[in-house]
Amino acid sequence: MKLGFNILLGGGLTALVIVGGLLAPWLAPFDPVLDANLMNAELPPDSTFWFGTDSQGRDVYSRILYGAQISLTVGIVSQIINTLIGVALGISAGYWGGWWDDLVNGLTNVMLAIPSLIFALAVMAVLGPGLISLLIALGLTNWSWTCRIARSSTLSLKSQGYVQAAQTLGYGDIRIMMTQILPNIMGPILVMATLGMGAAVLAEAALSFLGLGIQPPYPSWGSMLTDARELIRLAPWAAIFPGLAIFLSVLGFNLLGDGLRDSLDPHMRTRKA
């Protein structure tokens, strides 16, 4: 019951963000960048400007819709990169063992020793701000947990009969990893990727908030908050709504991840019952 609820609400919120982002050009009443008009600055929410306007008179609602595009792109693309790196390294390290495993393990430990936001900050410092830099920074710095999980799952699968049987039947290593191991560890990997998308959205917002991510005037939720911070006393709506957008989309990913985990892990399900 509860499990269905998590997936339903999480999926609903995520779908909302995706639809909002994809249909932004049709749903948004104003252009997020060009429709700046100081005459309209800092207007409270009304029937024209549903979420009010910011310091430059831009419609907050329209900017949030376009901001969803950035958050989704960063969340999904960076997580695809992370998952590919983590799964490839984790499975191969777990399966082959030996010096390769030691190397991957050492690398993972080093990655885990640097807080990922700090790491991303350093990469951003080197590459300079922008969407591509963000994708690289968040895509290269957050694979260590996926790698660990892929590795430990592979280790436990390696001694399972069907993996050993595949070896004795003549399967090659790559084929075994692709057909025997990967399909059986997809569950936890998928959960990690979903939760990771939420984390990436948060990280993007934080970096943009610090002025190191998406640069103005482009409407990232994080950078919208940077602007709004200065005038929070006068126009709190300019701060409340972008934050709410971040919160709800991250909540969506997190609930979806939790729901997936519960439905993939029957052990957890019976415990809840």
Binding site: A113, I114, A122, L210, L225, R229
Partner: protein, 311 residues
């Protein structure tokens, strides 16, 4: 135990060296030279002679391996270099800021542990109850909350609207200044601790030895005190250690938001002006802190769980 402690501490050293190398490499592949970026502000180009001189001064004209060697040698003498901008020793800059950061991190973690652990524990005692549901919904919300936004809202409410607390600044270390940033920073670890504690306790409660304890004729409260609490503690300790790491990361944003004079805001400011020695030094110190805490956690862990020492 002593041998385990020494071994565990010695194991940290290679990690630090690799991290130092990694940081060094990242900042050595920057397109264009630092000196050039330091002198140009986008409109004028820098005088080549000045660039060359600065490069010489900073040792940036040497080949890369030589530079790394110098870098490590300096590290060994606790010399983190000199700021490009202020020409002050990096170590001194960090030392000036570190204690404020530490204060914030510890306060936030205490807040998280004191509230999160009992909450998770109580929730696990009554799985499926209203308290349990509310705790879990609160936890997932806490984990989804952009902290700086929460901080902004708290600042708006308690500082700007109600005027109960100062909105930002260090205020000479006054406790009143610490409250808002610490709560803001503590929310995520709190949520995570509540969740892991609950999961950990439920896990232990399902273990076979708990059935044994019941078969011995133990009352529920004795089962919890004698067998559940200690075993669940293992997971809590691990989570606290891991959370310290990501909390240091988050602190960067929170310090910036509340204008807290810690190494986090030092890092952000230095990144903005590309003051590379300060950035390198700050990250290295943060990693060092993180590793120290993790080592301490491992030692506590080993003290609780007798199986660890044997490995």
């Amino acid at each position: 135990m002593l041998q385990f402690t020494i071994r565990r501490i010695l194991q940290v050293i290679p990690t630090i060296l690799v991290v130092a190398l990694l940081i060094f490499v990242i900042f050595s592949v920057v397109p264009g030279s630092f000196a050039a970026s330091l002198f140009s502000d986008g409109r004028t180009t820098a005088n080549p002679e000045m660039i060359a001189q600065l490069n010489r001064e900073l040792g940036l004209d040497l080949p890369l391996p030589q530079r790394f060697l110098n870098y490590v040698m300096d590290l060994a003498h606790l010399d983190l270099g000199t700021s490009f901008r202020t020409r002050q020793p990096v170590l001194q800059l960090i030392n000036d800021r570190m204690w404020a950061s530490l204060q914030l991190a510890v306060a936030a973690m205490i807040f998280a542990v004191v509230i999160g652990v009992p909450l998770g524990f109580t929730a696990a005692m009554r799985p499926g109850s209203i308290l349990d549901s509310v705790t879990m919904i609160g936890a997932v919300s806490g984990l989804s909350m952009p902290q700086f936004w929460l901080g902004l809202l708290l600042m708006y409410l308690f500082a700007l609207q109600l005027g109960w607390l100062p909105s930002f600044g260090y205020g000479d270390g006054s406790l009143r200044n610490l409250i808002l940033p610490a709560i803001t920073l503590g929310v995520t670890p709190l949520a995570l601790l509540a969740r892991t504690t609950r999961a950990g306790v439920l896990d232990v409660m399902n273990a076979d030895f708990i059935r044994t304890a019941h078969a011995k004729g133990m009352s529920e409260s004795k089962v919890v005190r004698w067998h559940v609490a200690r075993n669940a503690l293992v997971l809590v300790v691990t989570t606290v250690g891991l959370q310290f790491g990501s909390m240091i990361g988050q602190a960067v944003v929170i310090e910036k938001l509340f204008a807290w004079p810690g190494i986090g805001s030092l890092l952000v400011d230095s990144v903005a002006i590309r003051d590379i020695p300060v950035v390198q030094g700050t990250i290295l110190v943060i990693v060092l802190w993180f590793l120290l805490i993790n080592t301490a956690v491992d030692l506590i862990y080993a003290a609780i769980d007798p199986r660890i020492k044997q490995r």
